[in-house]
């Protein structure tokens, strides 16, 4: 099995074979020279792997996160993306409109104030919307200078994480 991987944004290549608990694998990245390793791997609890690599014990916890897999080892978290080279073609084009910048809700919460109106010209960093969650108010600022071309935020509305609230162009 050969996979393209990225760990915390660094590209790497993983090649491995499995035979029950036994694993043989090679990993190489721009900052890690190729190393042939053999390990035993057991999923001891859902998403938690006990991995022994030449005598070292790695309790490794994996969970699907928003921007890849979160892999925790000894309290250190890496964000990992895995891709099968043969699957590359399947990737859709997920670029953003170049000039336009989106303002998403950084967390679920309630909109308590909208400080701009559609069509307003704003400076970069100007306050646009105030979202409150868990009794803390967070002011969302303009990512760039420009015109507010879209404004879906309404005072009192409850929004989910990542909801589009406004767009600046």
């Amino acid at each position: 099995m050969k996979l393209n991987v990225s760990v915390d944004g660094r590209a790497g290549d993983l090649e491995f074979t499995r035979d029950g608990e036994a694993c043989r694998f090679t990993y190489s990245s721009d900052r890690a020279a190729p190393q042939k390793l053999s390990a035993t791997l057991v999923e001891v609890e859902p998403g938690i792997y006990s991995i022994l690599v030449n005598g070292r014990s790695y309790e490794t916890k994996v969970v699907q996160g928003a921007d890849g897999l979160y892999v925790d080892i000894a309290g250190h978290r890496s964000v990992v993306e895995v891709r099968d080279p043969r699957a590359l073609s399947r990737t859709g084009r997920d670029g953003l409109g170049e000039g336009r910048q989106i303002v998403n809700a950084p967390m679920p919460g309630k909109i308590v104030r909208v400080l701009v109106a559609e069509g307003d010209e704003v400076e970069a960093g100007a306050g646009l919307i105030v979202v409150e969650a868990m009794k803390m108010q967070n002011e969302l600022k303009a990512p760039k200078a420009g015109r507010v071309v879209q404004l879906s935020a309404r005072v009192g509305a409850t929004v989910g994480m990542g909801d589009l609230l406004a767009a600046i162009e």
Binding site: A11, Y27, G75, H76, E81, A133, M134, K135
Partner: protein, 502 residues
């Protein structure tokens, strides 16, 4: 002793009180909002009553509904915990009127200490040192500008009814004053249904050290020593210790602050548990800040070091029992440190990170105390404070406690939401923290200091992480491409494309 007590709170503190009641053989009654039907405090209580919609203003802050619940369940007393109605004199009064014992001080004492400005006056009256600032709330922006100008920037805006950093803002220049005032008062309105704000001089690099006191209804009162709570973010404590490393080095401070605390408390014939907060400047001068007329979030570190159970003492005192200890009986053994585990992202300005937690692994072993309000599968509601649990440790020495806390934070794991667990381990590794050089601006400085965290990381982590991720995806029979997909295109995807073009 009471037969049945209603707990007018939620989350970890409700659970902690229910545990105390169970140990005392007292029936516990939980209350819950729409958001909390499946909350841990409802699961653990003997009885439970629904009190309204999710927003606290329509449930946990509704005096009428809580008293109704108490009546329906024939509860003889109410423990308010902290926050919500715990420092609301009207609530205490309403309980007294309804013939239900309010587990806390008299409504008179709450009212006297409830407004910071009034408390300041009282302290000034008996000659206790206070930080220069306004004696009354300031509403009008113009007046605020005036006051700030005469005190001199930087100034601090504070909710008169406040606590826990809610409705609090540091203001460094006049330009920022009006906006800050607006935010602070609306936040205060929401949190305490009281928008009154006052202004005081900001002491630079202060330590926050507080004194725990407890007394019975016939006037016997002792202090249980100090807690240092200088490690704060957004003006909210996140790490607390007993003893304070500063006081440990200067034991005379404990006596001096303890006596000052008792003197201030006596001015209002205080009884039950209370905490007097002080700022301590770089010359070890302490200034009275405010009195919290309730149980403190960080009470466990005092319990671990003194060996007393504050909640059980509160209940016995409320039942009219004598305190039963003298100042001489109080001893301090070893060192305790507590971390507040929040659903938040320390790397993104501590942005709250609500959501459902899939997997929870709890630390265990020697010297650990976990006060938890969560369980696997529980979804943190957006309506309340994102405090998940308090993790405290005890050891014979502060170094031992730091080492232990590092160990147990490593064992603690909550998946599905972001938490500040790893952040705490970084702070514990910080030389300044280990040396006990603490102040309320510590975290900001820490971030500047530790801009580039120099982790000496096991080179195999990267390879092992990649392997585990691959196995995770393959065993779940899911197409890696979709699982690997990201919200926005990462540097990596771009690289991936370039590679595929070669």
């Amino acid at each position: 002793m009471f037969r049945k007590i209603l707990v007018a709170n939620r989350g970890e503190i409700a659970v902690r009180i229910i545990r105390a009641l169970r140990e005392m053989g007292i029936i516990s009654v939980a209350v819950y909002s729409d958001a909390d039907r499946a909350a841990l405090h409802v699961r653990m209580a003997d009885e439970a009553e629904h009190i309204g919609p999710a927003p606290s203003s329509e449930s946990y802050l509704r005096i009428d509904r809580i008293l109704d619940a108490a009546a329906r369940h024939n509860a003889e007393a109410i423990h308010p915990g902290y926050g919500f109605l715990s420092e609301n004199a009207d609530f205490a009064e309403a309980c007294e009127a309804a013939g239900i014992v309010f587990i806390g001080p008299s409504s008179v004492a709450i009212r006297a200490m409830g407004s910071k400005t009034a408390a300041r006056k009282m302290a000034i009256g008996i000659g206790a040192p206070v930080v220069p600032g306004t004696e009354e709330a300031v509403v009008d922006p113009a007046r605020a500008r005036e006051v700030a100008r005469e005190i001199g920037y930087p100034v601090l805006l504070k909710a008169a009814a406040g606590g826990g950093g809610k409705g609090m803002r540091r203001v460094d220049s006049e330009a920022a004053l009006e906006g800050a005032l607006r935010d602070a008062s609306s936040e205060a309105e929401r949190a305490f249904s009281d928008s009154a704000i006052y202004i005081e001089k900001l002491v630079e690099r202060p330590r926050h050290i507080e004194i725990q006191i407890i007394g019975d209804k016939s006037g016997h009162m002792v202090h249980l020593g100090e807690r240092e709570c200088s490690i704060q973010r957004r003006h909210q404590k996140v790490i607390e210790e007993c003893p304070s490393p500063l006081v440990a080095a200067h034991p005379e401070m404990r006596t001096a602050m303890g006596e000052a605390a008792l003197r201030i408390a006596r001015t209002v014939d205080y009884y039950n548990a209370g905490t007097l907060e002080f700022l301590v400047d770089e010359h070890r001068q302490f200034y009275f800040l405010e009195m919290n007329t309730r149980l403190q979030v960080e009470h466990p570190v005092t319990e671990l070091v003194t060996g007393y159970d504050l909640v059980q003492m509160q209940i016995r005192i409320a039942a009219g029992e004598p305190l039963g200890i003298t100042q001489e009986d109080v001893t301090w053994r070893g060192s305790a440190i507590e971390c507040r585990i929040y659903a938040e992202d320390p790397n993104n300005n501590f942005m709250p990170s609500p959501g459902r937690m899939h997997h929870v692994e709890r630390p265990a072993g020697p010297g650990v105390r976990l006060d938890n309000g969560i369980y696997p599968g529980w979804e943190v509601p957006i309506e309340y404070d994102p405090l998940l649990a308090k993790l405290a440790v005890w050891s014979g020495t502060r170094d031992g406690a730091i080492a232990r806390l590092r160990r147990v934070l490593g064992e603690y794991y909550v998946s599905g939401i972001k938490t500040n667990i790893t952040f705490f381990r970084q702070i514990l590794d910080d030389a300044e923290f280990r040396a006990g050089h603490l102040h309320t601006g510590f975290i900001e400085e820490f971030f500047r200091r530790a801009a580039e965290p120099v982790e000496k990381q096991d080179p195999q982590y990267e390879a092992v992480a990649a392997l585990a991720a691959a196995v995770f995806l393959l065993d779940r029979k899911s197409a890696p491409s979709s699982n690997g997909a990201t919200a926005r295109p990462s540097r990596w995807v771009t690289q991936g494309r370039m590679e595929s073009l070669r």
